[in-house]
Amino acid sequence: MTSTATSIPFRANAAEALSNSPLRAAMRNATETFAKKRTEATASLPIEEWRTQASDTRLRVLENLGEYVDRFSANAVRAGAKVYRADNAESAVSIVGSILKDRAVQKVVKSKSMVTEEIHLNKYLETLGFKIVETDLGEYIIQIAGEGPSHIIVPAIHKDRKQVGRLFSEKLGCEYTEDPAALTKIAKKILRDEFLSAKAAISGANFAVADSGSLVIFTNEGNGRMCTTLPPLHIAVLSIEKMIPSLADLPKFMRLLPRSATGQMLTTYMSVITGTRKAGESTGAEELHIVLVDNGRTKIVAGEYREMLKCIRCGACLNACPVYRLVGGHAYGATYPGPMGIVLTTLLEGMEKAHPLLDATTLCGACGDVCPVKVPLPELLHKLREERVERGFTPYLERQGMVGFGFAAESPQLFSLGQTVARVFWPLAKKIPGLGALERMPIPAQITFGRSI
């Protein structure tokens, strides 16, 4: 919750990940499958038009975010929900904690939510003595492994079936199997009992509909629906930028989010929850509490990185990113990995902590191409790199080198001298720590092109 002053050791984390061959194989398989399915699912469709429409809608929301949040809150209250605003992570977790304490429940079933990872909700509730059961299969796997998610929609993407098999037999006491169907069955049986006995549930939301006060949840396993319909108490935790104006806007995102995420035409389950259970309804929570988390977003929306908040958390940029594909999500040392994660982490947790992440990109632009809501990720990454330089967060030697580059670039004589010096000292320079990259380059030519013509 409180950010520490030490920066994230991305390069060391990445080097470790690179030497982990099961991780690399799992990452390669999964990201390649998703990227391929995404390409197939978006081919021969007016995808550019869809992206533009979705982007426009998201931008319209962000331009008047306060109004949309107010409208959503008023409509949700009218439908029977109780709505809370949390300025930061501390206040968000304590709101959730006190709702649960008042109800004297011991156990909470939970459907996947990245913002609850951001505010470290599980950890907080566990210190209060609550038992939290993650019910998304991937999230359940990493929960029993004691890890955080390594992908925003596929939290256990870094694990292969053998690892999951060993984990289940060790933690759940079942016989070892690496058959995904058998493993799923084991988890399903345990989770079913948890659903049926739980008196409280926590969920996130993919979208919040301002005009109706509805929450929209996409899941593939149906666990979101179990969480939000079976227990009498439902607490939804979502960040404020999840707003869309009306239900009429929802189809724009229904067709784009699953296609971008996993290459599915539609998500398997979509729940639209408007308030509490009404008279005559057979399912639904009797009490609905909605916690709207700001945690720095009002500030982001007012600044030059606003477009980052258009993000609908599909994970397409992760799957497309050459760096993420190689090293996986944990190397980023933050809640959100990959291109969107680099930008969001820097904005949420500060340059001091996150600046090494700005090197976790080749600026290849693949993320920008696949984003369903046209978040200009390459531009935002570049802008943050400029801010990092302006604020003095790049290494001293690099800064001096760049000053030298600037002088040489504006003076042909100096530039030419630099080329000669480089050629002469190349064999020596290669040995200097930090200049190892020279080893991977040829020796400068005896006569430059400019001089040879």
């Binding site: 390069r11 990445a14 080097a15 690179l18 050459p322 760096v323 190689l326 090293v327 700005l358 090197d359 976790a360 990109t361 080749t362 600026l363 290849c364 632009g365 693949a366 920008g368 191409d369 570049h382 943050l384 790199r385 400029e386 801010e387 990092r388 330089v389 790049t394 690099e398 760049m402 000053v403 580059f405 600037g406 002088f407 040489a408 670039a409 504006e410 003076s411 042909p412 530039f415 080329q419 480089a422 930090g434 200049l435 190892g436 990259a437 991977r440 380059m441 040829p442 400068p444 030519a445 006569i447 430059t448 092109f449 400019g450 040879s452 013509i453």
Partner: protein, 242 residues
């Protein structure tokens, strides 16, 4: 037709023979090529590192060298061409006069294959080539400039050569300018993956439009001891000239 050649600092420093291939190629098609004195670097390394002030200095130098002419500016690099065309004007957003100059040079700038295909129709002339050739689609060329078909048209038109498409051709090779130096572990791992896809084609030559990428791929070739030639597209095309 006259053009001004921006050779790029990388070709100037490391690969003068590629520069000679560009000259030969353009001259073969009747182009009067000049190489304006005083050119240094487009500023891309500083710009992608986030050093706006230093990249502005490079941009000012580029503009002062090239602004005196109306001729097209041709450069054998997708990333340098994109720097001039897509990034220069952002560097001068607070200086209208310089921004206008930046936009003017941007308008005149072509990446080599853009110029060969759209202005000279080289792909229709049909050069000759040999062996099996595969192609790496570099990032700024493909995604920022949108130059996707032009290199393919040129390579497919080579009489006597077989063009073999590479799987994931537009996936980053891991060069990334300063990235290569700052994240060597990832950079080499990406280059190794790229080399896997290069070798999977069975080609005897891999080509591309950016020497940064080609240098990174050549390093992966050297580390592995693989037997495949790495050549800039200008060299591949110039080799087929009589």
């Amino acid at each position: 037709m006259r053009v001004q050649l921006f050779g790029t600092c990388m070709i100037d420093t490391f690969f003068p023979e590629t520069g000679m291939s560009v000259m030969k190629l353009l001259r073969h098609f009747g182009v009067d090529v000049s190489y304006p004195k005083g050119q240094t670097c487009c500023g891309k390394p500083a710009n992608s590192g986030g050093y706006a002030r230093e990249s502005r200095k490079a941009a000012e130098q580029f503009i002062s060298v090239f602004e005196g002419s109306k001729d097209p500016i041709v450069t054998p690099s997708g990333s340098c061409a994109s720097m001039v065309k897509n990034h220069y004007h952002h560097l001068f957003k607070d200086n209208t006069m310089m921004r206008d100059k930046a936009l003017a040079v941007a308008d005149r700038t072509y990446e080599l294959t853009q110029f060969l295909v759209h202005e000279l129709k080289v792909h229709e002339a049909g050069l000759s080539g040999k062996g099996k050739i595969t192609y790496h689609a570099s990032c700024q060329l493909t995604r920022e400039l949108g130059v996707k078909e032009e290199p393919l048209l040129l390579l497919q038109s080579l009489n006597g050569a077989e063009f073999i498409p590479m799987p994931y051709a537009d996936r980053c090779c891991g060069f990334g300018g300063v990235f290569m130096a700052k994240m060597p572990e990832i950079s080499t791992a990406l280059a190794d993956e790229k080399l896997d896809t290069v070798l999977s084609t069975g080609a005897d030559t891999v080509t591309g439009c950016d020497h940064g990428c080609l240098m990174n791929i050549a390093d992966a070739v050297r580390r592995r001891g693989a037997r495949i030639a790495v050549k800039h597209i200008a060299t591949v095309l110039a080799e087929g000239l009589k």
